[in-house]
Symmetry: C2
Subunit: 223 residues, 2 copies
Amino acid sequence: MTDRDAALQARIVRLIHDRRLGPGEPLPTEPQLVDLLGASRNSVREAVRALRALGIVEIRRGLGMFVGEAPLRVFTPSLSFRIRAGEGGDVGSLRDLVEVRELLEVGLIGQVAGTLSTARLAALDALVRRMGEDPEADRSFHALLYESAGNALVLQLIQLFWDVYHDVEQTLGPPEDRAAEIEANHDRIVAALRARDAAAAQAAMRRHFTDVKARISRAVPAP
Amino acid sequence: MTDRDAALQARIVRLIHDRRLGPGEPLPTEPQLVDLLGASRNSVREAVRALRALGIVEIRRGLGMFVGEAPLRVFTPSLSFRIRAGEGGDVGSLRDLVEVRELLEVGLIGQVAGTLSTARLAALDALVRRMGEDPEADRSFHALLYESAGNALVLQLIQLFWDVYHDVEQTLGPPEDRAAEIEANHDRIVAALRARDAAAAQAAMRRHFTDVKARISRAVPAP
DNA sequence: CTCGGGTACGACGTGGGACGTCGTTCGCGA
DNA sequence: TCGCGAACGACGTCCCACGTCGTACCCGAG
């Protein structure tokens, strides 16, 4: 057969659906799958490996195989690779990535602006203060900002793109000290949110990404 | 070791980068990788299987292994699985998916509105006419619409979400005949684009997705 | 000289077996 | 009763053998 491997993967996925197995629940063991699927252990293992790479199956050594949650995080290596190996050098692909982030975040902030509690606004403000020393604060800021949208998918998507960007950004040459600029941009965002001004928040977010794109344009692809 | 497999994958990816291999170029053969990485053939094969699932490696039987392009399409199984196995039944996750599509497309159509040539507008119109019989026309419509944005990533992203939606939508019960509704929505979009009215185009797109979300809400999760 | 087919070769695909390592469980002994 | 170690079953790694697919080469027919 030409792609028996793909067929095996599909059969395992179907098995999960047919048995109504949810994330965290155990899958049949390797020997059981060998019997069920009528393939050798090697073939089963290779199919499971592919499913694990997609987050569909989780393996805990010594315990067994379990249904995964397929978090978008598993795409990080693939996306990073795609950006790095992208046509026209990294820069073009990275710009595309940032534009997708901008698209998502500008749209989202328009939705959540006006729905944020003062407590949440204070938490956002505290995160901005910590951005100087803690790189994670930036990530947390965007995560906390969109949490109230109630959309787990878009939340993970934004995290994914953030991770990939900061993964690839390191290959763009020596890091620039943009701490002040970044903090100012985020301050503007919080201010607009405080004013319950959706349009201003969107503008502030756009301005933030304009600076990010400028940083990319300045960077020269490594020889 | 705990995750020697992940380390092997990373080493293969590094090998690709170190050798400046671009999509389509050949990778070392299995035996060569066994030597280079100091792992057994099974381990190498399993690592390669994972990379293939991520689109990073492409395998052509009888020929060898090649660098892949990591198209977003490879995430279709994972995303479909995630939606189906999502918390709170399919409906909630599917709604999240559609909202992401809405976010992207409403933002994008605002960017491309006013930049479309009359030839392209005519092509879009022709696709709308074919939506009745050809399900692919819908997909092509959205692809053609955003082609001029010049962002390959977002284009593939929209295609990916479209594929996943139509994959999962089939499990939502018997298909409804919404042909007229769909055509009317797309007609409104094209009309707004013809008028070079970005705001109206965004509104029309939003209306389109409102109907899609309504279709989801009507659907009852299968018992 | 040209053309065509058959063979040889090297690529990946599949199957089977053996042994190691990790976690858990259970029973024995203090 | 408590604790520790052996047994068990999970996945991890490795090795070898054979099958299948594509290509390239060689050689003979025309």
